[in-house]
């Protein structure tokens, strides 16, 4: 897929999401009870912002649709914009897995399944292995790093800042 058509699709999704958010916020301002006393602004601020945002998103949507149609009707544009010369492989799935792992780490502590120390050591080991793409030879280094970082954080937060960690 060419860079410009990919951007065009991203713009369409972005505009649609913004229009949806604006609609939800606008609707929420309508169901809000009126102020208990006379007040000049009321819900006007969020309502005005939602309308402005929706109008601007509509402009982005129209522009993206027009640019997509132009790219689709002119194959030369697509061919000329495919010259992407990345010298390394991009790993979006790695970012997605890492994000899921962070969510799991937070959920484990939030649901009190694990305390800070075991959860953090486990998280650092797993994410370390994930980012090293399963290179087990790194495991001793990762384990040492995970233990030192976790204990240092625990010590600093509980003994210096007096914050109870989960």
């Amino acid at each position: 897929m060419s860079g410009s058509s990919k951007q065009g699709k991203a713009d369409i999704v972005f505009a649609l999401v913004i229009i949806l958010v604006s609609t939800v916020i606008y609707w929420q301002t309508l169901v809000q009870p009126p102020p208990r006393w006379s007040e000049p602004l009321g819900s006007a601020a969020p309502r005005a912002l939602a309308i402005i945002m929706a109008v601007l998103a509509l402009l982005v949507l129209i522009r993206a649709l027009r640019s997509n149609m132009r790219t689709g009707s002119n194959p030369a544009d697509t061919a000329s914009s495919t010259g992407n010369t990345a010298t390394f492989i991009r790993r979006p799935w790695l970012a997605a897995f890492s994000f899921v792992l962070v969510c799991a780490y937070v959920a484990a502590m939030d649901q009190k399944l694990l305390g800070f120390i075991p959860a953090t050591i486990g998280f650092l080991l797993l994410i370390g292995l994930l980012l090293n793409r399963g290179n087990w030879r790194q495991l001793p280094w990762l384990a040492g790093f995970a233990c030192v970082l976790t204990l240092a954080c625990h010590l600093i937060f509980t003994k210096v800042f007096y914050i109870d960690l989960p």
Binding site: V21, E39, L56, R90, L131
Partner: protein
Amino acid sequence: MLQSFANLFAFWPLFYLTLGVALGIVVGSIPGLTASMLIALSLPLTFYMDSVDAMTLLIGMYVGGISGGLIAATLLRMPGTPASIMTTFDGYPMTRKGQGERALGLGITASVVGGLVSWVFLAVLSPPLADLALQFGPWEYFTMVLMALVMLASLSQGSLIKGLIAGCLGMLLAMPGIDPSIGQTRLTFGWHQLDGGLKLLPVLIGAFAVSQILKDIIDIEHKLGHVAVGRKGIFISLADFKTHGLNMLRSSVIGTWIGLLPGIGANIAAMMAYSTAKNVSKTPEKFGTGHEPGVVAAETANNASVGGALSPLITMGIPGSVTEAILIGALVIHNLQPGPLLFTTNPEVAYGVIAAYLIANIIMFVMMTACVTYIAKLIYVPKTYLLSAILVFCVIGTFALGNRFFDVWVMLGFGLIGFGLEYCKVPLGPFVIGFVLSPIAEEQLRSGLMASEGSFAAVFDRPFAVAFLAASVITLCWPLYQQYQQHRRHRIAPETP
């Protein structure tokens, strides 16, 4: 002011300042990590510090972060921070010619000169500016916030429309919770955890740190080439000052002026100074090929913009850029009201910031000159360890805010939002500044309307408010006018034989 300098030379303030500068330089020199990220992540740790010490630490980080970006920009053509983008144009070609140390030496000296000149402006201009701002009423503040948002949206990367959407979205996301004027909850969707609104720090850490980490993980395969740095050429001579003095002075003034304008950051300052240096040069064709004035102009201006931007921050509470928006958050966290009254209610903080900025620049110069060869090695720290450690800091830093996991989930949510916005080429700057300025804008608009019995016409009775409004309209219309001119030229061109 003198008292602030005296206070700064006690052990702990000086320690915090040095620590801040050192951390800033380290983080700024590592591509992918930015000063904003460092400052946002460090905010929770400053809760337990005295407010002056906290601001001292953060100012040190800011100065160090902007300056540290020079190293990766020069050696690898990878700007450590967005402010160093222009440095890559001539810094990297100089490295390719074997003049990397010379480029670093010039950049470091230019940075400190820019910092010192802008400090003079900061120290001289801030008190009278604060006096002037004391006369401002709600309409002036409201229109000034509007101007800051419009300027930032129009000058950020990407399109003006997307910048404006980002600003509106940031403002809207700051609105859930209890309406401060009427005491009723709004936009909470019946979710009681939102009654207190979204806190600033989870939003900042999510938008800047988490989204940046996700981007860095995607590009984790990017291996950096190795460049050795020696000490020869780091120190520049008096003759160099003669050669580059005028450029340094001009770029300092440009940087400070750009910094003073609300909403515009160091990258724009560097760009303007670079273009000016090129336009006035007798050899403009050499720019971009490893020409020394290019490095000098960019580095002087980006550091000078910091001093310029600190002025509206402490005198009016209006952030000059994203990093200043985070610094406003720091002031608020320490129960300080950024604005003209800061000089009256907390002069130790206002003057402390001014004093810290000067000393931070000097420390930065000494540290960078003495340790640049070692700092350059930090660029190659394995990303696996760095990114996973930062993720843990994000989680516990946000949790420490209020000992509740809701904030951590908010942070992760904003990490995704920030990542999504950047993927769609929507600038994050207006989003965050919109979030920070939204309560101020709404409060001032409401006060103005109450005073004028609901009439917007009252804004035209206030000259400053009219000026700010006019600047906003011009900033909004200028790109449209340029587009129209371009369109006209395209239409005329084919008709010309």
